[in-house]
């Protein structure tokens, strides 16, 4: 989808040049949404788009564009659920999203600036067709279910364990550098969903499990046997929370080449290429 766009973009750019040559007496057509190509995607344009984003969009989407659960503004640094192409991003910017706090950009905002913003948002995700990796994805696949034993905790396309995040589309939201860090330094940035809770409920039995959800008055975990438990907090005898990951570091147990292979395998796990 977005990945095949760069090919389309090149074709269209070429087409535009031919068109421009053919219609040299007419004015250069503005980049309407119907066009698939973004003519404003140089590093300068991306920088201008970033400036606009920081000023106009960061209040909801965050200064790092990683979204905000409170405002409901989504993370824009991975695959976008509402836009699969630059045109899709453009349309959302121009029209907003009805029924949400996502308002359109001002109607008098020049086309060039909207496209610069598109270019910046597009730059936040890694286009896999532009990435050259050292590792070999096929070898990584073997490691995943073999020596690495990753699938004892992680599912990919419905196969694997339940005690780590589903990695079926992990490549859409993590860059190769982030994946490398996830494998070698798993405690660095653990999402609250994967924290561990030790809790003793009203029955006096201590239980430990992954923190599936916690709120002001209750708590839900999954234990090692994949049992789901829900506790009212006002009946908890004891409670202990660890923000570490249950995943071990693979920095020592795998060679650098093997880690590279694993990164390559994971990076190409996505909905479609």
């Amino acid at each position: 989808m977005r990945t095949s766009l760069s090919v389309k973009r090149l074709l269209l750019l070429g087409f535009s040049v031919i068109l421009l040559a053919a219609l040299s007496t007419t004015q250069f057509p503005p980049a309407f949404a119907e066009d698939a190509g973004n003519l404003y995607n140089t590093p300068f344009d991306v920088g201008m788009g970033e400036r606009y984003f920081e000023r106009q969009c960061s209040r909801c989407h965050g200064f790092d564009a990683k979204g905000n659960d409170e405002t409901g503004a989504p993370d824009l640094t991975g695959r976008l659920s509402r836009a699969s192409s630059n045109v899709g991003i453009y349309n959302i910017l121009r029209e907003g999203i009805a029924g949400t706090a996502m308002l359109p950009v001002p109607t008098d905002l020049p086309e060039s600036q909207v496209w610069q913003l598109v270019a910046y948002i597009d730059s936040l995700s890694t286009d896999p067709t532009n990435v050259v990796l050292n590792g070999i994805a096929e070898a990584g696949r073997d490691l995943f279910s073999g020596k690495g034993d990753c699938d004892s905790c992680h599912m990919v396309n419905g196969r694997g364990g339940r005690h780590g995040p589903d990695l079926s589309r992990v490549g859409e939201r993590r860059s190769p550098e982030e994946l490398l860090s996830d494998i070698t330094d798993p405690h660095l940035d653990v999402a609250p969903r994967w924290w561990t809770i030790k809790v003793t409920g009203a029955d006096g039995v201590p239980r430990e499990g992954l923190r599936m959800n916690e709120d002001s008055f209750s708590l839900r975990i999954m234990d090692d046997d994949s049992n789901l438990w829900s506790f009212p907090k006002n009946q908890i005898e004891s409670y202990e929370r660890s923000q570490d990951s249950t995943m071990p570091s693979y920095a020592q147990s795998l060679t650098d080449e093997e880690v590279d292979d694993l990164v390559a395998f994971l990076f190409f796990l996505r909905k479609e290429i």
Binding site: R51, E54, R55, Q56, S58, R59, C60, G62, F63, D64, K66, D69, E70, T71, G99, T100, A101, L103, P104, P106, T107, A191, P192, W195, E214, D215, S216, F217, N234, Q243
Partner: protein, 553 residues
């Protein structure tokens, strides 16, 4: 006091019973939807607003009473039976957004504001609609933080509502018809309106939003009858006025200091108290050197003329967006051996203040939540800054974060416990500075912020503070950060909500949990309580739904 209106309703019932030849027993069982009963809605005079506490069956203004204590003398629901509360009705707001509304209840009719700028009147006992008003909005609004409306004000038989296109609209409370529609400011320049106005005598006092768009803030008063502007007091002094020199160059013209939440009023002192927002641009103070008066301040204005009587600036030369957009709570409290007329204020900057409300004299202040930006307050209440905590181009970690230790959501006070209650957040955030030129109608913030930890890693709580010492009496942990307001009652209760979608009741004296109910979506509003036919109800909005609870009959 037994309200006249209740008597009128009862009388109507008796007359109906007599006419229809029904026994009172069969009437009591009758489906309420079948009962033809016109609520005895009587005009809301200024005297009734001044004495709103004496008719607790009604909730006559955004903060309940002019002193904004959000304390109701209703006690049918109390610490011994609150756990038996059950849902009575739910009203679904048709526009999907979030409800920040605090409804009013007048003699059995409830007025609910909706996103973006709509208003509906429903039967307060059933939640069924009388009328609705949909305000037509342009499609190029400039709003910083969502399409919200927090409530209306009432005087006589007229409701007054702020709208996102920066209008003030007067609406007939019996029909929803528009009586007048006044442009307060030009929305295309970045002005908008979200807060409930405050009635002071025969005027509608109202603030303005737009502090992220380089506006110049003000507080307005309009003649309730005609909609004519009676006075305007700018929150940033103009050229030649005292305080204008607290802004370098022309920065005062685009300095923000918006007034986007409702204020309070002391009838005896004839003073209006109103909080002001951040100076603009929010995070780059280099272009507006000086204290930036009267941003981040409490302003005390003459109730007839709007003239500034005194001010207290909580955060001089703010560079962290620590708006003083909190509702001033007024009370008479024992302080160092005598009764003082005070204003209590838990600020976004993480300090709690008790201030003499007649003079503006600082009495006491201490942090009530985590903060790293100030070493403390000096004898006048001015913060002693920690050097080097201003936002940088690279980012610098500061507590509290941009959303603050608290924010606009209503705090409360209980006459029974003498405690002040606030929704608080112990968080931190990286603050960034950017260089921006002012362009009319464009955001003018000069930076922003970024969390480096998940929200669940931070601590949030409801805190009870002793106003005479500024010490924390108790706290009740919640998670994650809440933007719900608080209401207290003579039943010994504290009602509030949480971001994880709970509505709950605590013992106001001890903080002990007494009841909770999952309403399913984030609570952005404050609860309120009222009575119809002698039965107490408690209302709270969550997500897009307004829920009303009571004890079963």
């Amino acid at each position: 006091m037994e309200p006249i209106n209740m008597k009128k309703i009862a009388l109507l019932f008796i007359v109906q019973a007599a006419v229809l030849g029904l026994s009172s027993a069969s009437l009591a069982q009758e489906d309420p939807f079948q009962t033809v009963m016109t609520p005895a809605f009587s005009p809301i005079t200024w005297e009734r607003l001044v004495n709103a506490e004496n008719e607790p069956e009604n909730w006559l203004m955004y903060s309940g009473t002019l002193d904004s204590q959000r304390y109701s003398t209703l006690d049918e629901i109390n610490t011994s039976n609150v756990s038996e509360m059950e849902l009575q009705w739910a009203y679904q707001i048709p526009v999907i957004d979030r409800a920040e509304t605090v409804p009013l209840v007048v003699d059995g009719i409830m007025f609910i504001t909706e996103a973006p700028s709509n208003l509906v009147a429903v039967d307060a006992a059933t939640g069924r609609q009388y009328w609705r008003y949909d305000h037509e909005l342009p499609d190029d609004l400039r709003i910083c933080c969502g399409r919200n409306n927090r409530g209306v004000a009432i005087l006589g038989e007229t409701l007054f509502m702020s709208t996102l296109d920066a209008h003030l609209v007067a609406i007939d409370a019996r029909t929803g018809n528009v009586l007048w529609d006044r442009e307060v400011a030009d929305y295309q320049s970045g002005y908008s309106k979200t807060a409930a106005p405050l009635i002071v005598k025969d005027k509608v006092v109202t603030g303005i939003a737009g502090g992220e768009f380089g506006i110049r803030g003000f507080i307005d008063a309009y003649d309730a009858e005609t909609g004519e502007l009676a006075w305007r007091t700018y929150t940033i002094p103009g050229e030649g006025e005292t305080g204008n020199d607290s802004w370098s160059g022309d920065s005062w013209k685009t300095g923000g200091a918006a007034t986007w939440i409702t204020g309070s009023y002391d009838a005896e002192a004839n003073l209006i108290y109103w909080g002001t927002g951040n100076p603009g641009p929010d995070w780059n103070g280099d272009v507006r050197l000086g204290d930036n008066l009267y941003s981040d301040s409490a302003m005390a204005l003459n109730g007839d003329t709007g003239e500034l009587e005194w001010h207290f600036q909580f955060t001089p030369h703010d560079v962290h967006d620590y708006d003083a957009i909190q509702i001033p709570i007024l009370a008479d409290i024992p302080f160092e051996g005598r009764t003082r007329k005070v204003m209590m204020w838990a600020n976004r900057n993480a300090f709690f203040y008790t201030i003499d409300r007649e003079t503006g004299e600082f009495l006491i202040g201490k942090p009530y939540a985590s903060q790293t930006w100030a070493q403390g307050l000096d004898v006048n209440g001015r913060p002693i800054r920690v050097p080097g905590m201003a936002p940088t181009y690279e980012g610098i970690m500061v507590s509290p974060p941009i959303v603050g230790a608290t924010n606009w959501y209503s705090p409360a006070y209980s006459k029974d416990t003498g405690l002040f209650y606030v929704t608080s957040f112990d968080g931190e955030q990286e603050f960034f500075k950017r260089d921006e030129d002012y362009e009319e109608g464009e955001r003018f913030t000069g930076g922003g912020g970024r969390y480096t930890q998940p929200m669940d890693a931070f601590h949030s709580s409801i805190r009870a503070i002793k106003p005479a010492t500024a010490e924390i009496e108790w706290e009740f942990p919640i998670q994650p950060r809440s933007s719900a307001g608080i209401t207290t009652t003579a039943g010994g209760l504290l009602f509030t909500g949480s971001a994880d979608g709970y509505f709950f009741a605590l013992d106001a004296a001890s903080g002990e949990e007494l009841w909770h109910m999952s309403l399913g979506r984030r609570v952005h509003a404050a609860p309120m309580t009222y009575a119809v036919n002698g039965k107490q109800y408690v209302t709270m909005a969550s997500g897009n739904v307004v829920y009303t609870f009571a004890l079963e009959d």
